[in-house]
Each structure stands twice: as structure tokens, then as C-alpha cells.
């Protein structure tokens, strides 16, 4: 099965148009979770999760994954007019798990989606999100922190479709690759005709720590509307001389500096977890693997 497809294909030889996986998408348990709180998914509990946010409602949902082997999760989000959803997805799975995680969201007028994904290198991860910014002044923020280590693959695909007027999107991925980790980051801002006054931004920072890593990046901006502003930027490489000098001058060596920077990627998002127990557990897990 092909997932994480780019909305517009490019050169086939670079292998970033999509990813092909052998998994059966037909055995999902339906879960409706339209409430504040924590949804724990573990074992082989493949799930189709539905989250509906009513008009003027604000929800904060944590999806905490603790699986062994494989876990496949599809999440459908509908946010009604002036609704707000903070959705935090955490991969707390056992070492070596394979996670396939897809989110699709419809965001109505003046509604707001804040999607946070914390992926601390538990195993292979195939994750993505498509936000349909249908309503005028709708917003989405997709913020990801990842660690890819050993021989793991982290394969990502984030898409913001701007349809309403004056819509906003912000996609940000901060990550670290080490050992023989392989990562693909796809991000697309698509300004559709009629989305006048919209703005979108996508950014990526990838810190490469080992000689065996493979980093793929493809940030797209698609546009059929004149009155928009779109931007993307990325920085890929190891710590700069200036950064290392800064740490060295404070008695911190290269290895420790790399840990501090890597931890910084996660801690910014971990702070967003409102559940004390999960926040502390996630923090511990991140420190463990770093």
C-alpha cells in the first residue's frame, strides 16, 4: 500500500513521491473521542479515531501510543466554526515498534488546529497529516519533533490545503538523525484559487550526527492564488562551528552539546503536554534515548 504521497509528483529516481508499505488497512477499531483527555492506544489495537470539535468548543486531546510490533492509527478531525483543537500524538511504543499514523482534518471558519507530534525514536514511523483549511480565517499549526536512530525510518508527510480566505498554516519539523537512521520529510502548502489573503510557512531543521544517516527533504509550495504569502526554509547539517564554540566556552563538549540541542527539540513540545504523568514519562523516555 502506498502512503505519504506527495500531492504533486517529482523525479521518480529520488524516491520521495510516496512510500510503499505492506500493511492491511482493513482491520481498524472505530473510536470516537470527542472529549478532553488521553486516548491510550497499545498492542495491536489498530484504530480509526474520530474527533469532532463543536462550534465555539475547545478540546485538548492526547493520543498516547504504547505498542509492541505494529500500530496503525487513522485520525479524522472535524473542527466546527470557531472551534479549537490541540492534538498531541506521542509515540511511547516499545523499542522496534512500527507506527503508521495518519491524520486528516477539516477546519471550519475561524477554527484552529494545533497538531503536535512527538516521535522519540522508538521504531519505524510513517506519519502524516492533511489539513483542509476550508473556512475563512481557519488555521493550522503542525509541529513535530523526531529522533531517528539505529536503522530506523521516519517518513513524514504534512499538507496544508488553503481553501478559505485569510487562512494560516505553519509547519515545523525539528529532528535529529543518528547511527544509520533514515528520514524523509515532505511538507506541502497548497494555496488554492480563492484563498486570498492566506499565509503559509514551512520550516525544517535536521541535525545529522552520524556518517550513516540518510536525510530526504521535500518542502513544496503550490499556488493558484495571487494574493498570498508562502515561504519555506530548511537547515540541514551538523552543529556549526559557532554553536560548538559557544558550548565549548561554557565547558560543554561536542557530544553533550548535541544532546542538549536534541533534547531542546523535544522539550519545547513536551511542555505542551498537560497530563503530568504522560509529560514526565515522555520526558524520561526522550532523555533515555538521547
Amino acid at each position: 500500500m502506498k502512503i505519504n504521497k506527495l500531492p504533486v509528483r517529482t523525479f521518480n529516481h529520488i524516491g520521495l513521491n510516496e512510500v510503499t508499505l505492506d500493511y492491511d488497512p482493513g482491520t481498524y477499531e472505530d473510536i470516537n473521542f470527542s472529549e478532553n483527555g488521553v486516548l491510550n492506544l497499545s498492542g495491536r489495537r489498530d484504530a480509526s479515531v474520530k474527533i469532532d470539535v463543536k462550534e465555539n468548543e475547545s478540546l485538548s486531546v492526547i493520543m498516547n501510543y504504547d505498542a509492541q510490533g505494529t500500530l496503525n492509527v487513522n485520525t479524522e478531525v472535524n473542527i466546527a466554526k470557531n472551534g479549537k483543537l490541540k492534538l498531541i500524538q506521542i509515540d511511547s511504543s516499545q523499542e522496534g515498534n512500527r507506527l503508521v499514523n495518519e491524520v486528516s482534518a477539516n477546519v471550519a471558519e475561524d477554527a484552529d488546529l494545533n497538531l503536535i507530534q512527538i516521535l522519540p525514536g522508538r521504531g519505524d514511523v510513517y506519519t502524516g497529516a492533511v489539513a483542509e483549511l476550508n473556512g475563512n480565517r481557519s488555521k493550522c499549526n503542525m509541529d513535530v519533533a523526531y529522533l531517528t536512530r539505529k536503522t530506523q525510518t521516519t517518513d513524514m508527510n504534512y499538507v496544508a490545503n488553503h481553501r478559505g480566505k485569510e487562512t494560516l498554516s505553519d509547519i515545523l519539523a525539528n529532528g535529529v538523525l543518528k547511527d544509520e537512521g533514515k528520514k524523509n520529510f515532505r511538507a506541502t502548502i497548497d494555496f488554492k484559487t480563492g484563498c486570498a489573503g492566506s499565509k503559509g510557512e514551512e520550516n525544517e531543521h535536521a541535525l545529522l550526527l552520524s556518517e550513516g544517516v540518510i536525510n530526504g527533504s521535500i518542502p513544496l509550495i503550490l499556488c493558484t492564488e495571487e494574493d498570498v504569502e508562502g515561504a519555506h526554509g530548511c537547515q540541514i547539517g551538523s552543529l556549526s562551528e559557532e554553536t560548538l564554540f559557544y558550548f565549548n566556552s561554557r565547558g560543554i563538549d561536542k557530544s553533550e552539546a548535541e544532546k542538549i540541542i536534541s533534547y531542546g527539540n523535544f522539550s519545547r513540545l513536551i511542555r505542551e503536554i498537560e497530563d503530568d504523568e504522560i509529560r514526565e514519562a515522555t520526558d524520561r523516555k526522550v532523555l533515555e534515548v538521547l
Binding site: 556518517e211 509550495i221 547539517g237
Partner: protein, 468 residues
């Protein structure tokens, strides 16, 4: 809501004039083994070239159309003649060129540019070169600038055989296979070790015949420590049937050598421009691409630099301007294989009147490319909401010891900037044209003055008619 007025007709008479297809030898339309063998016979190919053509045809029939990029479904090879030759011999004096052909190139300003600012000129009309000449003092330096067919029969025959279609292989994609099967014309340049050619060489390609293809092959070898600026120009009159351009450019840049390859592409808007360009750069060498893409109905064009030697460099500076009926899919590719290599891409694109511009790029930093750098920057300007602009950059990084940066922006002309210029007496159209010309200055400042003026004229032509 602002209202816009569009003046549909743009005066392109500078490029759109055409000659009758008389006194010409023209092969029937289509692509068969018989046609390929006829071309080979017509050109008196050496055996290896004939074999290359047949092998390429076999690959063409095996390979599929790309499943990305603009649709090529309307391109029907059964309605394209792959070889059209004027009944004239290759001349080294404009007076020996048939009058209407000479007149064509004079209207395009080629002989005048040769006299003023070029070290040599090649002029191709349909499938064959009609004029080729180089200044004596440059020839005395040992520089070779000739048509490929003459090179194949000269002391440089082995050099051509060693390099031709080795960097761009017929198996790479369907249209390189097509090129391998029916190529004709183009230039061969060799700059010996340490020779610096002070003024540029230029080849100009004119596709005059209706429903025809042009398949020239450019092969340039710049030896160790040498330096060359090569300019490529192209245009065609507009017909109501498809014309096809599938040229190939192979560039070999030696140790510590430098090659600047500049292109102002202004094909007519019925042309499918499916061109391939690739450079191989040795230690300390540098390839500089300067590209302005204004013409064609559909373009696929991504000049590729392979940085093979330590410290090799590439710079790509490009602009695309797509207007009504155009889908220009352009960009660049870089493969950095050695330590301390560097690449810089800076591109601009402008979409107007329903035109589609796509910037598509690929940067690969190999395992051995330690201490290498790459910076890619692209800016896109949308002049209306009938048009489309896409940015599709890809990166594949396989060493932690490299510094990779990428940035892109898309937007419209600032209302404040237009208002400011109008408050100083410019009309809205003049203000927008000035802003777009400024937006394109990354390319114009890299071109020789005459070509910068031509490019600004093209921008002015394309901007004519957008009154907000």
C-alpha cells in the same frame, strides 16, 4: 475587488516571422527505424553513431512518458518531422548563406553580435548548421569550435566518440533516447589546457519548419585551467501545430577550469522544449549556468551539475516567465560527490495570464562530500489568480559534514511598491514592469550587456497588457 484589463495580443514580430519551407530536404513525419537510418545515411554517420541511433530508438520504444510534470499527451511523434535541411552548405561567411536564412539571423541580430562582442558563432537553421565561424586569434590559441558533424571527421573524432552521449545516456529518459536516435547539428567546442577565451562563443538555434523537431547536440570540453563563456540562443516562429525541441548539452569542465553556460530561450509558444543539459566538473573546476526561459508551450529543463572532483563548484542562476498557454517546468539538479564541493542555486519565476511556472530541483550530497555546502533559493511572483506557480525542491543528504540551506518564497507584487512608483509619475503598467525587471536582476546582471537588454525587452513584452 480590483479589476484587471488584459491586452491579449503581444507583439512578438521580432521572433515570429517565418520563411516558406522551400529549397529544403524534409523527411516524412514519424519515428521509425527506416527514418532513423535515412538520417544516418543523409549525414554519412560513422558506424558507431549509426549503432547509437538504432540502440537509442530501441530504448525510445521501451521507455514511458514521465508520470510527473506537464502532460505530454498531445505530443504526437507521428506528426513531427525529425529532419529538415535547407539545401545549403555550411558556410563560414554570411555572404555564402542563402539570402532568406541570412535575413533571418540578421533580424535576430546574430551577425551584428558576432562583429561586436563574440569570439565565434554557430547558427543552426532547422536540423543543420548553416554558418559556423570563429575569430582567427581565438583559433590560434588552439580553441576548436565547429559543428559536431565536422568534428566527427576531424582529428577530434576520437574525443567526440569518447564523450558524446556518455554524460547524457539514451537510457536516462525517453526524450534522451529520442535525441540519441535522431540528433542532428549542434556544436563541438574544445578549449585546450590553460587557454582563457576572453569573449564568449555563441550558438543560435532557429527552428523554422512547421511541424518539425530540432535535435542539436552540444559538446563542450574545457580542459585543465581553461576558461570559456558559451552563449546559447533559440527562437522559432509560431505555428498552430506542435513543434519539438529535444537538444542535448554535455559539458566537461576540467581541473581548475571554468565554464559559464548562458541561455536565453525564447521558443515560440507552440513548442515542446524537452531539453537535457549536464555538466561533469573535476577538481577545483566550476560550472556557472545562467538561464532565462521565456518561450515554449511546455518546457522540461533541469540542467544538472555533477561535482566529481574535490572543491568543484556550481552556480545556477535562472528565471522563468510563463504567460498564457505556457507550462514551464524548470529548475536544476546537483550531485555533489567529492569533499569541499559547493552549489548555489538562485531562481526566480513569474506567472501571468494563466501561465504555469514550476521550479523543480534536486540536490544530492553523497557520503564522500564532506565539508560541502549547498544553498538553494527560489522566489516566485504571481501576477494574477488565473496563473499557477509551484515550487518542488528535493534534497538527499548522506553526510553529516555538510551545510545545507534552502529557502523559498511566493507572493505578489507589493501594492505599496506600485503605489510608490505611481506617485512618482509612472503608470501602473510601467511600475509593475519596473518591479518585475528588478525581480529578474539576478539573471540580467549575470548576462553580457546585449543579452541583458534582450532579456529586459522580453520581460517588457510579456508584461505588456497587465493593467490593474
Amino acid at each position: 475587488m480590483k479589476e484587471k484589463t488584459y491586452v491579449e495580443d503581444i507583439d512578438r514580430s521580432l521572433y515570429d516571422f517565418r520563411n516558406e519551407d522551400k529549397d529544403s530536404f524534409r523527411l516524412e513525419e514519424g519515428l521509425t527505424e527506416e527514418i532513423v537510418l535515412k538520417i544516418s545515411e543523409e549525414k554519412n554517420d560513422p558506424d558507431w553513431v549509426r549503432d547509437l541511433r538504432l540502440e537509442s530508438l530501441r530504448m525510445y520504444n521501451q521507455l514511458g512518458l514521465p508520470d510527473w510534470g506537464p502532460s505530454l499527451a498531445d505530443l504526437d511523434m507521428n506528426h513531427i518531422s525529425t529532419y529538415v535541411r535547407k539545401n545549403a552548405k555550411l558556410a563560414d561567411n554570411w555572404d555564402d548563406v542563402p539570402a532568406e536564412v541570412k535575413d533571418t539571423f540578421e533580424k535576430l541580430g546574430i551577425p551584428q553580435a558576432e562583429r561586436k562582442s563574440l569570439a565565434g558563432v554557430g547558427a543552426q537553421y532547422d536540423s543543420e548548421l548553416v554558418y559556423h565561424n570563429m575569430k582567427e586569434d581565438v583559433a590560434k590559441q588552439g580553441v576548436v569550435y565547429t559543428d559536431i558533424e565536422s568534428a566527427l571527421r576531424s582529428e577530434y573524432a576520437d574525443m567526440v566518440k569518447e564523450h558524446m552521449m556518455k554524460l547524457l545516456k539514451p537510457s536516462d529518459h525517453k526524450f534522451l533516447a529520442l535525441h540519441g536516435a535522431v540528433w542532428s547539428g549542434g556544436s563541438f567546442v574544445y578549449v585546450p589546457k590553460g587557454v582563457k577565451v576572453e569573449v564568449p562563443l555563441q550558438s543560435y538555434f532557429r527552428l523554422n519548419a512547421k511541424g518539425a523537431g530540432q535535435f542539436e547536440h552540444t559538446l563542450i570540453i574545457v580542459d585543465e585551467g581553461a576558461d570559456l563563456h558559451f552563449i546559447e540562443g533559440c527562437s522559432a516562429p509560431k505555428y498552430n501545430v506542435a513543434n519539438l525541441h529535444v537538444g542535448s548539452v554535455e559539458l566537461f569542465v576540467g581541473k581548475n577550469a571554468r565554464l559559464r553556460y548562458s541561455t536565453i530561450e525564447n521558443w515560440s509558444k507552440n513548442i515542446y522544449n524537452l531539453n537535457s543539459k549536464r555538466a561533469l566538473v573535476e577538481e577545483g573546476g566550476k560550472i556557472e549556468w545562467v538561464t532565462g526561459s521565456f518561450g515554449s508551450h511546455i518546457s522540461y529543463l533541469y540542467p544538472m551539475s555533477i561535482l566529481k572532483g574535490r572543491g568543484a563548484k556550481t552556480e545556477f542562476t535562472g528565471i522563468s516567465f510563463a504567460n498564457e498557454g505556457q507550462n514551464l517546468d524548470t529548475g536544476a539538479k546537483v550531485v555533489q560527490l567529492a569533499p569541499e564541493t559547493s552549489s548555489v542555486m538562485s531562481t526566480k519565476s513569474i506567472s501571468k495570464g494563466g501561465g504555469v511556472c514550476t521550479f523543480r530541483s534536486f540536490v544530492k550530497i553523497g557520503k564522500d562530500a564532506v565539508n560541502s555546502k549547498s544553498a538553494v533559493s527560489c522566489e516566485s511572483l504571481m501576477l494574477d489568480s488565473k496563473s499557477r506557480s509551484d515550487t518542488i525542491p528535493a534534497m538527499d543528504i548522506r553526510t553529516p559534514y555538510a551545510d545545507i540551506g534552502h529557502e523559498a518564497q511566493i507572493g505578489k507584487i507589493s501594492d505599496e511598491a506600485v503605489f510608490y512608483l505611481m506617485s512618482r509619475g509612472l503608470s501602473e503598467e510601467e511600475a509593475k514592469t519596473l518591479i518585475v525587471s528588478g525581480f529578474a536582476d539576478n539573471v540580467t546582471k549575470e548576462l553580457p550587456l546585449e543579452y541583458a537588454i534582450e532579456m529586459n525587452n522580453l520581460i517588457r513584452l510579456e508584461m505588456k497588457g497587465s493593467i490593474g
